[in-house]
């Protein structure tokens, strides 16, 4: 077992451990911090696979953007030190069983498929990605790029509209 493999298994254990802690921790702020570590581990996995551009995007957008947004809204909406109430035992057992069976099914399927293929050297240098992103020819991605740009614009306007204080006086609760 060489260093490359050892690093992969350490990364995998790190990602899975922090992800499990993130969904089971009862303090929501700690849960967000564990999620942060899981996302950093996934970025490390992309570095391990030598897909550096995706790793950088992962760190910038997820670790730098989404987790910070989540932590902000935790601070805005609740006391971060308060423990969340424990889910009912039946629900925990049922969902753990469902998840284990689902994982077993998927693992058996993957194992039977027996992926062994590996074709050629993978090139993902920035030149290629940038050219494909704005090219309109074959294997060009300019249309999805524009569509995603419009989506981001719509999301931005939507956030502003949703988060604005309602200018009209809404009916008091209980009457509607």
């Amino acid at each position: 077992m060489n260093a490359y493999q050892i690093i992969f298994y350490i990364l995998a254990a790190f990602i899975l451990g922090t992800a499990i802690l993130s969904v089971t921790s009862r303090k929501i702020f700690r849960s967000a911090i564990w999620l942060l570590f899981a996302l950093i581990g996934i970025a490390g996995l992309y570095f391990w696979m030598e897909v550096e551009f995706i790793a950088a995007v992962q760190i910038v957008v997820y670790v730098g953007g989404i987790v910070v947004l989540i932590i902000f809204s935790i601070f805005l909406t609740q006391q971060s030190g308060k423990e969340m109430q424990r889910p009912p035992l039946m629900r925990m057992i049922a969902s753990a069983l469902a998840v284990l069976f689902g994982f077993a099914f998927a693992a058996v399927l993957i194992h039977q498929q027996g992926f062994a293929g590996y074709d050629g050297e993978f090139l993902d240098d920035m030149d290629r990605i940038g050219n494909a992103l704005i090219s309109t020819g074959d294997y060009g991605f300019s249309l999805p790029f524009e569509v995603v740009s419009i989506l981001l614009l719509a999301a931005m306007i939507g956030c502003i509209v949703i988060a604005l204080k309602a200018p009209f006086k809404s009916a008091p609760k209980g009457e509607t």
């Binding site: 897909v51 551009f53 995007v57 989404i66 050629g120």
Partner: protein, 115 residues
């Protein structure tokens, strides 16, 4: 050959997906559920990158799908958190059980009345 069997990376992403599902099943807090959704999206991203790198090395489709998924996840998180903060303003709670106005009212006739 690949240094690690590709199956093992796929097992990792499958496990991550089902950990996210577990969080989605057990949590009743909107922000925690959003965090579980982020885990699920990340497992999908790992799958796309693995299939692109190890099976279709000449193309870049998986990388682009990953980039677009990350973009959409960011937009989704921003809109969801705006909705959550708005919900907190009107309900003083972000528990999904408390946001049940659209459900059938608990008393058939009475305080809720006809809309």
């Amino acid at each position: 050959m690949t240094p690690v069997p590709v199956e093992h990376i796929l097992f990792l992403s499958t496990a991550l997906f089902f950990i996210g599902m577990y969080g989605l099943f057990t949590r009743r807090n909107l922000i925690s559920m959003l965090m579980s959704v982020e885990l699920i999206l990340n497992s999908v991203n790992i799958n796309f990158v693995v299939f692109n790198k190890y099976f279709h090395a000449g193309k870049l489709d998986g990388v682009f799908f990953t980039i677009f998924i990350i973009t959409i996840a960011a937009a989704e998180a921003a809109v969801a958190l705006a909705i959550i903060i708005n919900l907190f303003r009107s309900h003083q709670s972000i528990d999904v059980e408390d946001a049940a106005e659209l459900k059938e009212p608990p008393t058939p006739k009475g305080e809720y009345g006809v809309m």
